[in-house]
């Protein structure tokens, strides 16, 4: 501690930077280590998804269109009546699934009209 206090300010500052840079580099090493350590469980989860034919992540369980956003009705945000307000706070965090909308419309227009 005494040696640290007697250190030249520039050397002290450069040592702090070296430490911080070392810790910064360590985050990448740690990330690689955790990726390798979690690889098996990620693969097992992917296998479970395939086995159970799951389609969504369990992020929000409060409403069916937030639990399964990819499977929700296209107009689910207005499920009660056409100008109904959004009930759940998640609605502000969860966008209407743009990918689904576009693809759905595309397919809809490309498909033949029923007789």
């Amino acid at each position: 501690m005494r040696r640290l206090l007697l250190m030249r300010p520039a050397n002290f500052a450069l040592s702090v930077f070296a430490l911080a840079l070392g810790a910064f580099a360590l985050t990448f090493i740690d990330a690689a280590r955790l990726r390798a350590a979690n690889a098996a469980s990620v693969a097992a989860t992917a296998a479970l998804v395939e086995r159970l034919e799951l389609t969504d992540l369990v992020l929000f369980t409060e409403a069916r269109y937030t639990r399964h956003p990819t499977q929700a009705d296209l107009q689910s945000a207005f499920q009660d009546h056409p100008v109904a307000f959004e009930h759940f706070p998640t609605g502000s965090l969860m966008p209407p699934p743009a990918g689904i909308l576009t693809a759905y419309e595309n397919l809809d227009r490309k498909a033949k009209a029923p007789d």
């Binding site: 930077f17 990726r35 990620v42 992917a46 389609t55 369980t61 499977q71």
Partner: protein
């Protein structure tokens, strides 16, 4: 080289002494600067890791899920419906899925009930997700009763709990035998919730979906690609929302940092005047101030980023949890696998370190090129 290093060290010595004279102000700046980097880096690391994880675990989701719509709403698929389309080239498997939602009034949570085709569950038994294990205090061998929508009480024995590591996709699942599922929800015989189709060739998926829509106009095919894109856009959106909320803070910090860096105090001006009067060259004064900007901004970036990394990947993003939980009672407690986007980190570095370092230099250059006497009187 040695002389150059020694010179820089002397400049750093002087810069640190100068910073120490305004200790409170500079430490405050370092703290706020670091905090801002911490929040921005936390958002970036969290969303990128979640986005990558979603893409990895959902890679095996069915190629096509076929829903039937009635009056714009998802409806059950009656027996014989899928047979109407006959055999479609490229489709390897067509399997009905049985799943639905159950509201548990005991803990006020929603569960996803499912009768899996590829997992054996004995009659009267269930396999539950890890969040259910936590919220209802269940373990293998325990019994649990659910009141069905028809009012009857159904009792099940917990045969197993799904692994905690799969919680991101299985937290609220209750897996049961098909007959139990049908009895519990009074599901009409032969009806299924939707149909999962397996298509071998990825190039064919869109064509198969078009054929399905031609043959079954009331159907809605959901492609795997759409599922993956939805999750990519969900996290882009969430990152955008967080950044929009933070924009006021970023702007406030920008004004504060600009004010601090670009506007010289009388004391700083006097300091520059004295340095010039005792023989410092303009270049030396600028170098000293460059070190000042770099020391503060680089240290703030490094400390903020390291704290963000620890927060997201070692402390379970505890600060974001209340925002992400919403109204949900069951919330998955998952550990994210770190996936760091180098470009994202480089962008954060560029936008936090460079503007401040540059902003410090402009007024100094102006003051340092003026006559010392004028600056000191200034």
């Amino acid at each position: 080289m040695k002389i150059w290093i020694e010179k820089q060290k002397h400049l750093i010595d002087f810069t640190l002494a100068s910073l120490a004279r305004r200790k409170g102000k500079n430490l405050g700046l370092l703290f706020i600067y670091g905090l801002l980097v911490f929040v921005l880096a936390s958002v970036a690391l969290y969303t990128h890791a979640l986005r990558t994880e979603a893409q990895k675990v959902l890679a095996g989701t069915p190629e096509i899920v076929l829903q039937r719509l009635v009056a714009g709403r998802h409806d059950l698929i009656p027996p014989g419906y899928i047979e109407k389309i006959g055999r479609i080239r490229g489709v390897q498997k067509k399997e009905g899925r049985l799943w639905g939602y159950y509201y548990d009034s005991v803990v006020k949570a929603n569960y996803t009930f499912m009768a899996p085709r590829n997992m054996q569950v004995a009659r009267g038994e269930i396999i539950v997700g890890p969040a259910l294990e936590r919220s209802r205090g269940l373990a293998a061998g325990n019994g649990i009763s659910f009141r069905s929508y028809s009012g009857e009480l159904h009792t099940f024995i917990v045969a197993d709990v799904l692994p905690q590591t799969s919680e991101l996709v299985s937290a609220d699942l209750v897996l049961m035998h098909e007959e139990d599922f049908r009895a519990f929800f009074k599901y009409p015989e032969g009806h299924v919730t939707d149909v999962a189709l397996s298509v071998a060739n990825p190039q064919e998926i869109k064509n198969v979906a078009l054929k399905l829509m031609d043959a079954l106009p009331d159907s809605r095919p959901i492609l795997r690609d759409e599922v993956l894109r939805t999750y990519a856009s969900v996290f882009d959106w969430r990152e955008g929302i967080m950044l929009a909320l933070l924009s006021a803070a970023i702007l406030a910090f920008g004004i504060f940092a600009w004010e601090k860096a670009a506007g010289l105090s009388a004391e700083e001006k006097r300091e520059i005047g004295i340095l010039k009067a005792i023989g410092w060259e303009t270049g030396d004064v600028i170098k000293m101030k460059f070190w000042e900007g770099l020391l503060i901004s680089l240290l703030a970036f490094l400390l903020g980023y390291i704290a963000a990394y620890l927060h997201v990947f070692h402390f379970g993003s505890i600060l974001f949890e209340p925002v992400l939980k919403g109204w949900a009672v069951l919330y998955p407690s998952f550990t994210l696998t770190p996936h760091i986007d180098g470009l994202q980190v480089a962008t954060l570095f560029f936008f936090t370190v460079f503007p401040y370092t540059a902003a410090v230099l402009v007024p100094i250059w102006r003051a340092a090129t003026t006559d010392p006497d004028t600056v000191m009187r200034g």
